[in-house]
């Protein structure tokens, strides 16, 4: 992240100075900082709603049941978390939200990240499980890409849902690609 941030800011400033776009760049940066606050305020309500619902699911035993039901899949994906039903349950709720395209994906995903951190002691184990969850969420595999289909319908498409199949395949490829890179890096780290 260090290098990424430096490149974004450094390259941005360099281009602005070379092309004389300084005013525009400055306005855009201030706007960016503002929109981060706006976004958090917008997200806060969503987070309250979904973490609130998740708490109910947790206390009533639903999260534990989800962890048990998804153990065959998640046990393979998250071997570090074996037997830890709290983070596993939240992870499965996050993945289901992503697949259904629900707004609960980000609130639950962030909560799962905190639970992974609390559940594991070893830093490498923590990071490996967290990166896997982030890769799964960033690929955003979803049964039905509702925002694109809605946009296509709004612009007068005769077959708005025709892209659903291709996007699922592309999402699968993104998931597998991300997971393989993580696998390679985590193996290289361990062998050091």
């Amino acid at each position: 992240m260090n290098a990424v941030w430096l490149v974004l800011v450094g390259l941005g400033c360099a281009v602005a100075l070379l092309t004389g776009n300084v005013d525009e760049m400055m306005a855009s940066v201030l706007e960016g900082a503002d929109s981060a606050i706006e976004l958090v305020i917008g997200l806060a309500g969503l987070f309250c709603l979904w973490v609130g619902i998740e708490k109910l699911a947790e206390e009533s035993g639903l999260i534990k049941a989800m962890a048990r039901a998804t153990r065959p899949v998640l046990g393979v994906l998250f071997p570090e978390l074996r037997g830890k039903s709290k983070p596993l349950g939240t992870i499965s709720a996050t993945i289901v939200s992503n697949l259904l395209g629900l707004s609960s994906a980000t609130p639950l995903g962030t909560k799962a990240m905190r639970e992974i951190k609390d559940a594991l002691k070893d830093e490498d184990d923590q990071m490996n499980a967290m990166i896997r969850l982030v890769v799964l969420s960033a690929a955003g595999l979803c049964f039905f890409p509702s925002s694109v289909v809605a946009l296509r319908a709004a612009t007068g498409s005769a077959a708005p849902a025709i892209v659903a199949g291709p996007t699922v395949l592309a999402g699968l490829a993104a998931t597998c690609g991300g997971l393989s890179v993580h696998w390679l890096f985590s193996r290289r780290r361990r062998s050091k």
């Binding site: 941005g12 360099a14 900082a33 708490k55 690929a139 612009t155 699968l172 597998c176």
Partner: protein
């Protein structure tokens, strides 16, 4: 098509079902529903606020990159490199923006759909690219921000490589569809 409609409806209907089903189930299990919801909501608020510094940092970085025109230059460079592969020039900015800014990418897709028509070959490609992945920069920032982790190791790299795999697959499917 009916299976597709079922999937589409599943996303829409699962929301009210979860919203009423979970509290009802909790109530039947003897959980104090209101108090527990508030407890969770408090935690949710804390999580959201914890991500703020991380979001400000990444937004400042991205808007600096965008506002200065650097993003446009990178898009052009990519266009130059990708042109021999048969990727239409107009969707290249979309490929560059997709992992960086979700709203930016959606706006760009909207532009392409309006300009070329959603059922044109260009509109089709833009739609598939848009739906192929989620916004990697946002996910990495918010997720690790919520956990209070600043050193994210290879997380962004892995996500971006995943995006690339998604785009390549989208492109190949599109070529097969259009021909």
């Amino acid at each position: 098509m009916s299976f597709l409609m079922f999937l589409a409806k599943m996303g829409v209907y699962s929301f009210p079902i979860i919203l009423i089903g979970v509290p009802l189930y909790a109530h039947l299990k003897g959980v104090p529903v209101y108090e527990t919801f508030i407890k969770g909501a408090e935690e949710g608020l804390r999580v959201a606020l914890d991500t703020l510094p991380y979001l400000v940092a990444i937004f400042v970085g991205i808007s600096c990159f965008r506002g200065s025109g650097a993003l446009e230059l990178v898009s052009k460079a990519f266009g130059f490199l990708l042109k021999p592969l048969g990727l239409p020039v107009d969707v290249i900015p979309l490929v560059v923006i997709r992992p960086i800014s979700g709203s930016g990418a959606l706006a760009l897709t909207g532009d392409i759909l309006r300009t070329y028509g959603p059922d044109s070959s260009m509109g089709l490609l833009a739609s598939i690219l848009q739906g192929a992945t989620d916004t990697s920069f946002f996910v990495v920032t918010v997720y690790f921000g919520a956990a209070g982790i600043k050193k994210t190791r290879h997380a962004l790299g892995a996500c971006l490589f995943g995006d690339l795999c998604g785009f390549i697959t989208a492109f190949l499917i599109w070529r097969a569809m259009v021909r």
